[in-house]
Symmetry: C2
Subunit: 434 residues, 2 copies
């Protein structure tokens, strides 16, 4: 077992970790947590625990040469940005040190009871915070099945996939300020809507609040304005991935989105999972994406396997139910446009990506009915209600509904998981002036 093979499936942690755990020693995702009564800091998920990197670092167990000599710790912070900006060589080195430290046959932490109590905090005792200070947020539209299905509903089957869609990864700028961490509940938004037969628009609570199953890439080192990132260097700028629920108000979207795209239909809240899973942890799960025909232009061509085999599930739990019901199973490998292509395209005009920027995929739907990643698709725009196990039906979300998304890669006897992103839809606040 090589010291540096942090992905070796035979690696074991000195903590007992179940095969279904999302956080074996092969994963080591980074997040920001607040221990009881403490200040926010960076940690790594391991089994049922959070490994406090500030404790490990102070104990001298994170002797990464690339971090030595810095005047300030990159882990004693309320966001991952300082660590993310340091680049892949540093990420790898820290990962190797942590992997070694947590091995079953490594005594330094395992046999130091006092240090273990301080460094390994039970997850139930911490509050997970937004892991990253997000500068700009971009939302792509990279699932062909989603674009086709939704396009047909909004514009008719003859205009489902717009002429540009197969040539470039379509995207729009999203709202960064309203990105919240898993566990944050959101109010049903009010907005302006106009049903087809109404003479004019009206203002009030949205009647068609939806979720969108997405993943998001966090940018590590950025690029200078005017200096595009060639596709074969895109990976150097990618830190890791999270789950994203891009809550959407479909009735608001339908009325507002022409000609400049979605705005208030999306900006009332976007939820992300708290643990950022690094590309290193996902390396074994790279697969070929869908065949691209027509062949993309040269700046978007990448010969490597650039998709990820990540199973994704969505659960819906009405307020009065004790159990969530799975309503969607999809997979990140369905994405037509890869993260490499998104980065290359995004910067092809010279646009500067910055550390902490979030690039989301757009809804990840697959080809089968159960793999549709939003209620708009699952209920065909509300025309075909779905029946939940408790006998209730749903077109769009009801007040009190909790939406939970999970994701993991299935290895040989272990999982590289993302944990979950969850949030409940609260009732709207009635507008004061209507």
């Amino acid at each position: 077992m090589s010291m540096t093979d942090t992905n070796d499936p035979r690696l074991r942690c000195f903590l007992l970790i179940e095969p279904e755990s999302h956080f074996p020693v092969q994963n080591l995702p980074f997040g920001v947590f607040r221990p009881r009564g403490g200040a926010p800091r960076v940690g790594v998920a391991i089994g049922e625990y959070v490994l406090d990197l500030t404790v490990v670092e102070r104990a001298g167990l994170l002797d990464a040469p690339s971090l030595a000599g810095r005047s300030e710790s990159v882990f004693d912070r309320s966001a991952l940005n300082a660590f993310m900006t340091s680049g892949r060589a540093v990420w790898r080195e820290v990962r190797e040190r942590l992997s070694l430290l947590l091995r079953h046959d490594e005594p330094r932490l395992r046999d130091d009871a006092a240090l273990r109590r301080e460094a390994l905090v039970p997850m139930r005792d911490v509050e997970m915070l937004l892991p990253v200070e997000i500068g700009d947020y971009t939302d792509f539209y990279s699932s062909r099945d989603h674009a086709t299905y939704v396009g047909a509903m909004f514009r008719g089957p003859e205009n489902a996939l717009m002429p540009n869609w197969l040539h470039l990864p379509v995207a729009y700028h999203g709202r960064a300020s309203s990105i919240v961490v898993s566990g944050t509940d959101l109010k049903r938004p009010c907005g302006q809507t106009k049903p087809d037969k109404a003479p004019g628009p009206s203002f009030g609570p949205s009647r068609s609040v939806d979720f969108e199953l997405e993943m998001g890439l966090f940018v590590g080192p950025g690029n200078a304005l005017g200096e595009p990132i060639p596709i074969d260097q895109a990976v150097d700028h990618m830190f890791g991935l999270v789950l994203v629920n891009d809550w959407s108000a479909r009735d608001v979207q339908k009325w507002e989105y022409v000609p400049l795209g979605p705005f208030l239909a999306k900006s009332f809240g976007t939820s992300i999972s708290p643990w950022v899973v690094t590309l290193e942890a996902l390396e074994s799960f790279r697969v070929a994406g869908p065949t691209q025909d027509p062949k993309p232009l040269a700046y978007l061509r990448n010969p490597v396997n650039a998709a990820y085999d990540i199973r994704l599930d969505v659960f819906l739990q009405p307020a009065e139910c004790s159990e969530p019901a799975r309503i969607c199973s999809s997979n990140a490998r369905h994405l037509y446009w890869s993260f490499d292509q998104q980065v290359a395209h995004h910067t092809s005009n010279g646009c500067n990506l910055c550390t902490g920027d979030l690039l989301a995929t757009g809804t990840i739907s697959g080809p089968t009915p159960e793999s549709r990643g939003c209620l708009l698709e699952l209920t065909t725009g509300g025309r075909n209600p779905m029946t939940l196990p408790n006998g209730q039906s749903r077109t769009f979300l009801e007040d009190g509904d909790r939406v939970t998304m999970t994701g993991w890669c299935q290895g040989n006897g272990y999982r590289i998981g993302f944990g979950e992103v969850t949030g409940k839809l609260l009732p709207a606040t009635s507008p004061a002036h209507e």
Copy 2:
């Protein structure tokens, strides 16, 4: 002359200030500058000088009770955000103190030669920096003339003004990272385009780079997620205005923008003027905006005068010319949707605005041919080239062209000016892989 009437046209500064100056004592716009060999800090423009607020504060001349007791200066910073978040009462108090300090009959600064040398730095000796750390950037589309004219070109006259346009201030999220301060030159962007008759798209330098004449509002105190700002409180969240040049690549835009709106056509750069003119300085220039018919919904109704009479000019200077030529004269009063309405609409779904967010107006065109605020309109999409004084013609911008925008309010014997936003279009860097 009341001590607190900082807008009194009779107010005089002890410095000689020409009637055409943009920066009389009635203006007092805030910016961030770097003196030769010094660190960035906050200053105020007065005539041909920058008043260094850190010097004034240290000298005990900024005895604003609302700022007393703070452990750190809000002016000894590289951005205005700390000052902007403090709210209107503080802004007013600082304005009153500065107005008093600069009066012709006030000796404290006027008669202290050493302090004057330190506090009043000639503008030619400083570098102006981006004044604000911008979180999110939103670009509205609030000029009816612009939306009508451009809509007709992109979608035909029958679809010029979309059905929603008269009911809500249409907007999209812009790219914050690529906002640059006046004086920053930008490279012609590369991008994917597809001429109507071409069989498929190609990648290369844009052939139709344009400017857009806009203004931008900087948000002062923000609102909490889920708590809309009622329109009658919108003004409390507004710090001040700048000039904005929203550079645009029209050929890229045409191919990419359906269905999610402009993306790479805009994100290669957006230029803003360095001095933020406060709403207090603009108070005397509030006017009624265009009549709104149909009447907006209640959450967008505001009985006060919410437009501003700001004259706006655009100048184009080809590389080989020594003089810029004026190619557009417009006015901010043409805006159909006001800043109050933009803020109320933006937050109506609960979206949180944050200190430092920039809300731009969209191109400010007027009803006459010379008031069209971009080349797309001025040359009818490139079909009617314009002739410059040097005999050259232009459809879109050529490499080396400098675009400069200015704006001011004409008072009785003085101007409240915005200075300028200027930038040159540099040649594209040839893509490596095409």
